[in-house]
Symmetry: D2
């Protein structure tokens, strides 16, 4: 039971601190024979990498991943895969301020209270830098999914920044890669740029809502009742730094519906069941239906801001803190590839679990 691990059969353990020599992930249980190399992983890391627009932290990290084990002649061997990313831009600055003061909204105070020791440099283990390891692991998961579930595609995007939501009538998946916010709405991208510029200049930050979907997942994934697909997705997303809420399908809005409005009616299509709607987000009783799987999560605003906030020191004195440094005005932006990576890992894990317990013996319809 490692608490820095997730997944059942495709098990990912991450390690490393923001300002240590390196961080990474060791993956156990990957199927053998999956074609993988460093460049295949790098494409995903490059999406999360800092410093790519003025809307993300200006810390310069190459985020180059090294595969140290588990891959032989370009293929996974079924043994543990160690992925290491060197930290290269840990500026040798003075940490005196945050070494003594607890930054509000950060884990500084709780790590101290829990462990009696903390690596205060950049938040140490609690830094969002840890998510680089998730993205690397997600790259391995995607490669395995390509082999095991060929039609499956995973897409993440932002649907809300601060109080501003996208207009779903303008939803265009092709837009996602065209703007620095991963937003599928060109107009929103334009509007949000101005909004975020304003916040950034005023030394403030904002939150976001990310949606991640998976199309083409087979029915039957998920293991009731505590290894439900939605349970594992909720845990996966909630474990991402700064996430405060997770929704499946209609999510919190499901509470306001009537049963007749909420039930996704079923008809028969040429290839099996067809649903007239997808309030459930592709999951019933914790098991995938074969519909699109839809997860959303809310990221709180970056807590590292230039606006002074009241806090206390380790010795209990009241003071103020301003968090200088190179911070994302909306940390939610870089959470998009992280959410995709977690979706990939969870789906692969449940594919393997399903194959292990049930093999090809599931029920047919029609």
């Amino acid at each position: 039971m490692s608490l820095n691990s997730f997944g059942h059969l495709f098990r990912v353990t991450t390690w490393g601190e923001s300002h240590g020599p390196a961080l990474g992930a060791v993956i156990d249980g990957c199927p053998p024979g999956v074609a993988i190399d460093e460049s295949a992983l790098q494409q995903w890391l490059d999406r999360r990498k800092p410093g790519q627009s003025k809307y993300t932290t200006q810390r310069r990290e190459a985020d180059e991943v090294e595969i140290l084990s588990g891959v032989f002649e370009g293929k996974t061997t079924g043994t543990p895969i160690q992925l290491m990313i060197r930290n290269t831009d840990q500026r040798s600055k003075d940490y005196g301020d945050i070494a003594e003061k607890f930054r509000p909204g950060h884990a500084d105070i709780t790590y101290w209270q829990k462990y009696g020791i903390r690596d205060y440099r950049g938040g140490g283990r609690s830094s969002a830098r840890e998510t680089a390891a998730r993205v690397a692991a997600g790259g391995v998961a995607r490669a395995a999914l390509d082999a095991l579930a060929p039609g499956l595609s995973i897409t993440g995007y932002m649907v809300q920044m601060g109080p501003h939501q996208i207009d779903r009538s303008r939803f265009d998946v092709a837009e996602i890669e065209q703007n620095p916010f991963w937003v599928p709405d060109a107009q929103a991208a334009e509007d949000w740029a101005g909004y975020l510029d304003g916040l950034r200049k005023s030394g403030d930050s904002t939150g976001a809502v990310i949606e991640v979907t998976a199309k083409g997942a087979p029915p039957g994934l998920g293991a009731p009742v505590y290894g439900k697909l939605d349970t594992d997705l909720a845990a996966a997303m909630m474990s991402i730094n700064a996430v405060k809420g997770v929704e499946i399908g209609d999510g919190m809005a499901a509470a306001a519906l009537t049963g007749s409005a909420n039930a996704d009616e079923i008809t028969m299509g040429p290839d099996g069941p067809v649903y007239n709607s997808n309030h459930a987000g592709g999951i019933l009783g914790g098991i995938s239906t074969g519909q699109e799987i839809v997860v959303r999560f809310a990221v709180k605003p970056t807590s590292s801001i230039l606006t002074p906030r009241k806090t206390i020191t380790k010795t209990g004195e009241e003071t103020e803190i301003v968090t200088k440094g190179r911070h994302d005005p909306c940390v939610g932006i870089r959470a998009v590839p992280v959410g995709e990576a977690m979706m990939a890992c969870v789906l692969l894990d449940h594919l393997l679990l399903h194959r292990g317990q049930v093999g090809g013996a599931g029920g047919k319809i029609g």
Copy 2:
């Protein structure tokens, strides 16, 4: 790795189907010497028990719990505690309809697709009857918490039914036990009664939002980064039947805040840190701060309704279904004690984890 289990050190495995002879929970890892007997557990089960008002299913189950192991002379021994609840009111009715047809919004179709076999009687394993086992386990967790964290109190209540939210200015904790909805707002209780009556008579149902809080939890609970307290709470709540969203603190609304508004400022009180607000819901970086822990979850409307819905049969024929029987018009009502039970189990688990890894060596402030 049992997927019908949750918890790390305080590990609960539930078993049983809606219409089988019995269901229950086996708990492993409970501290020894905790005073417990069947009546202590029964008080919690009675809160979840069906048939207590016209707003819950009229199925008559005594939900009497038997302790079969792990307790000796009124105290836990540290060995597995088996809690068994006999099913007594499984009416010998004709299941022909739901044996062949998949009820929309239910797990009928996914269990079939996954396993190729399903116990269709009342939903089998996917029935919310499973939550009785959670409540029994939660009773054990509460007894252990009474010993280990004396000041801790857990309270669940409904904050939204269908589209109707409570008025927080009328919040009165004393009202919670005074109405059939566990709502801390007397006016809401009155209004909702009429709303739910109408739905029930029209053969429809509605959803709900439940909030569960824990006061008096010590700082330092939670184990980053995949065993975070909020991660485990999210998983625990999402695993409850019909839950579609989980929030910690401000939850999804955190996305709309600025960093300056969101950061809970810290000052120094006589007994340690004091926070000027609680947007974080008592958890920073996955670790409890010592503030009130606040979790909310949305329960979708009951899918078993008298309104006919389109569906298909096992052989792929299109048809309609009306789910007769004894169903809750708002299954969220009975989710309140379930949410409390999950909170109790998660907190106890993390208390034991913290004690195991850190002992009494946490950091002091001031």
Copy 3:
């Protein structure tokens, strides 16, 4: 992480005490669609059941197993299977002596030192009665193996009682079921009867060595490096009450061999690799070779004897104890079906693990 559980995907959790109302096992992760009923399990329990000859305890337990969940219309559903066995012959005798005194060789003193409370009646949780639950679970595993690995057969037998070993030149598998010792050597059975009678009459007991083999297991089972097949078998056997040693293949004797003598040479047969010997016991690098899997374990002599032994009381006073009651003069006899059950559970578990990670993608030879 339940410490009263074993197995990875086929996960068995046992519960219950020697003199409580019942004991049992809950199995999670069993493949769906496996034909099983109570009589199929009973045949295995009847082999372990006490009171079947004068060489085992005279306690009269029917050891009737009830299936409380996870089986529907005679087939497993893929959900948890609860197997319960009522205790029926817990004589209401005076436990005063063992309540206060610690029996040497028993867990009385360690349970007390660990937990500060113990169910002293018959040893409580530490009683070998717990193994009835293992045998029931093993029956489920065997039924699943029948479906998944049709040619596989598991056989356990005694190869040593006290200082007396079998003569391997007289090995006859047909003899195993013909004598009360499960010994494949008719002459040994006769000799041992006299030896054990003598011990029994003198109020003493003796140990035994059990061998369990599996023929027809496919190559490829086992997951290096800490989930090796031999690692899991060693843990499974060592977890049985009174076991003090476990060997795979040549076991401890392998230390005395030279490398040239020990290496099982490989030639090519019509159906794949053929080994000229089996020093390895069918496992190389933690993975099955396809040869016969051979495990042995030593069971210490029954500690409950009529010979007075020195001990102390809870309050630290020195005293003597004579363990009256109905005890096995050689508890190893009834360990034979237990060892078989553990082998069945471990092999099924690894079949599922292998299917999960690798599917049908293993390497072919020739």
Copy 4:
């Protein structure tokens, strides 16, 4: 559930292959505040390091360990500790022979059959080089034990090489570090040197038996019934390369004893219970008694020998193989520090587990 991991709360995951760029261990769950640095770990690695005498492989590996995470200013932080050891002496030799042929006694054939791909260079993941990671992890465990259980000492030594056993009457713990075999018997050290020289020159190898003891472990460690201390020790030792048997206390010899001879009688000493003997090896019912904990394991002879052995190729052709290279004539020698490391990890793990579940609430005697 990572199968390349062991431990419950102190959880070690190892990764890496014999001839890859590096190997290592990530440790999760280490208590915070433990003083540790690379030199503290290096002392243990140096004991296992190859090339230290003519009796171990002449491969030259510095086995220098780097701490990449989890340690800050010389102390553990409670977050994952990544320990990396670069492989530096992977000679760029021709692997053609072992790439196509399966070495008898090695995992070559089973890895191929399981995964359909294998890193054949030096055995890849199945190489005993993996044990360097265990020794590094064991160094961390020892540092934590120094803090948590100050009087505890762990000692490993060889008690048998090939057919030659030590003479226990000559047992002298001071001798262990004085000879290349870690043998506590000066005469045996001398005799074995000649024996092993002969084997080495003839291109053969031999097995060994290692004993590992722990003095000063508190009573109460171990968690029945599948997380018993002896169960976990058996698994830990059996998971070491080439181990074929594990014994606790009297081990296999316990089978030959009578109950009256086997029961360790208890008297009362000034500091608590005193046992008149230690047939049980310090463990009763899976829980430590406070006596010396005694484990033994048998290591089979090195399978890499210069004596030609029959085998087959991947394509199924019969052939012979001679394993050239730099191999240990008795791989058991270097298993001594590995066994010590596993003992340290298991004991620390159970100390944390016990603290988690029971705290200080165990039972007192007298």
